[in-house]
């Protein structure tokens, strides 16, 4: 049996009512499964990728002609480096963990607010993360909500005190969600371990069976 291509399924997603493959999809379990997976990936984009990358994609682009014209009169002048301080200010300290610490900030109308264990935030709040690792660390940051849904948020090398780029937007569903930061000896094991804990995020402060330093923070998403 021939199934529609990814591109046809993308078209279907944009306008299901006018889709020429609507009949096929409604009777095809495999295509329905693919569409569900595609919708989930779209949701991942909206929740994690979009907020983390919007600033970068919207940054004004370098235009060679204009830039050269601007640079010409400045030839010979000293270069001035402007270092913009990014992320939360140093008076925000609400960390969890030992050699690895994790601080979660919620964007509130009054400004960035660090969250304490069990702290509550609006269910669609935007969050940013700051980690402090005593040693260079292959950091993996995942979240698990009370329904057991796991989301991998970051996987990157960190060292020292780092505010992770971008941020995430919560999914709007009220309930508990725990963030686990792990300096993982084997990064692949982190997501697997997170999937195994299921609905027990409330009391489980570390991922069992994972080697490496860990820190975690529980939040409550309120309606």
């Amino acid at each position: 049996m021939s199934h529609p291509s990814d591109l046809k399924l993308e078209r279907h997603l944009t306008a299901p009512g006018q889709s020429p493959i609507g009949d096929h999809v409604s009777g095809c379990e495999r295509c329905q499964g693919r569409l569900l997976a595609m919708e989930q990936q779209g949701e991942d984009f909206r929740r994690f990728v979009y907020p983390a990358t919007l600033d970068e994609v919207a940054r004004p682009r370098w235009r060679p002609g204009r830039a050269l014209w601007l640079l010409a009169p400045a030839a010979g002048l000293a270069t001035v480096l402007l270092v913009a301080r990014m992320g939360p200010t140093s008076d925000y300290v609400a960390s969890k963990g030992g050699p690895l610490t994790l601080t979660v900030y919620a964007a509130m109308p009054s400004g960035a607010r660090p969250l304490a264990e069990g702290g509550s935030v609006p269910a669609s709040a935007s969050l940013r993360f700051r980690v402090r690792a005593e040693q260079p660390c292959a950091l993996v940051l995942v979240s698990v909500d009370e329904s057991g849904q796991v989301s991998k948020l970051y996987s990157r090398e960190v060292s020292g005190d780092v505010t992770l780029p971008g941020g995430v937007q919560l999914d709007g569903r009220p309930g508990l969600e725990r963030f686990f930061a792990v300096c993982a000896a084997d990064p692949d094991t982190v997501e697997q371990a997170a999937r195994r804990i299921g609905r027990g995020v409330g009391n489980l402060r570390a991922l069992p069976g994972v080697q490496g330093e860990q820190a975690s923070l529980l939040i409550e998403k309120r309606p």
Partner: protein, 159 residues
């Protein structure tokens, strides 16, 4: 273009770009990085992002080229190899279930895009031609050459 308009376009087409990049790179971090690169490239022709009819093939083409290029570069840089691509459906001349990078890497960029379109995405020749902006004849010719050379290479490797 102002930030609000860019944000709106990104929210509309970002999911399709991200899915395409995930499909080809099979790594969420790599797909995230690739998504913003592809979208920035797409912004160079914003008029093509107005309607789905033009936007989706345009996105498909840019994302495919970018991500296949990323796969090639990852191999050259000696980074951890990205996962091989799953073959979407049985093809009489390509019975393998995976399109492995070492086979793909033996061909030029356009042939790679065609092979991925037909074997991985399960597209008809005409659909690949439309999406990549080339003739159907070119698709058939390059695919035939790909299948023949890939078969020979895999036979030699097995021996």
């Amino acid at each position: 273009m102002d930030r609000g308009k860019i944000a709106e376009l990104y929210r509309t087409w970002g999911p399709a770009i991200y899915r395409r990049c995930l499909r080809l790179l099979r790594d969420t971090e790599a797909a995230r990085d690739a998504t913003q690169e592809v979208f920035r490239k797409a912004l160079s022709s914003p008029e093509k992002l107005v309607f789905a009819d033009t936007a989706l093939p345009f996105i498909y083409r840019i994302a495919t080229n970018h991500c296949l290029n990323e796969r090639r570069n990852a191999g050259r840089r000696g980074e951890t190899e990205l996962m091989d691509l799953d073959v979407a459906s049985e093809h009489p001349d390509f019975p393998q279930r995976r399109l492995v990078q070492r086979v793909l890497a033996r061909f030029d960029a356009r042939t790679q895009s065609i092979a991925v379109g037909v074997l991985v995405d399960g597209m008809e020749h005409e659909e690949v031609a439309d999406a990549l902006g080339i003739s159907r004849k070119t698709v058939s010719r390059k695919l035939a050459r790909f299948l023949e050379n890939a078969r020979k290479y895999l036979e030699r490797s097995a021996a």
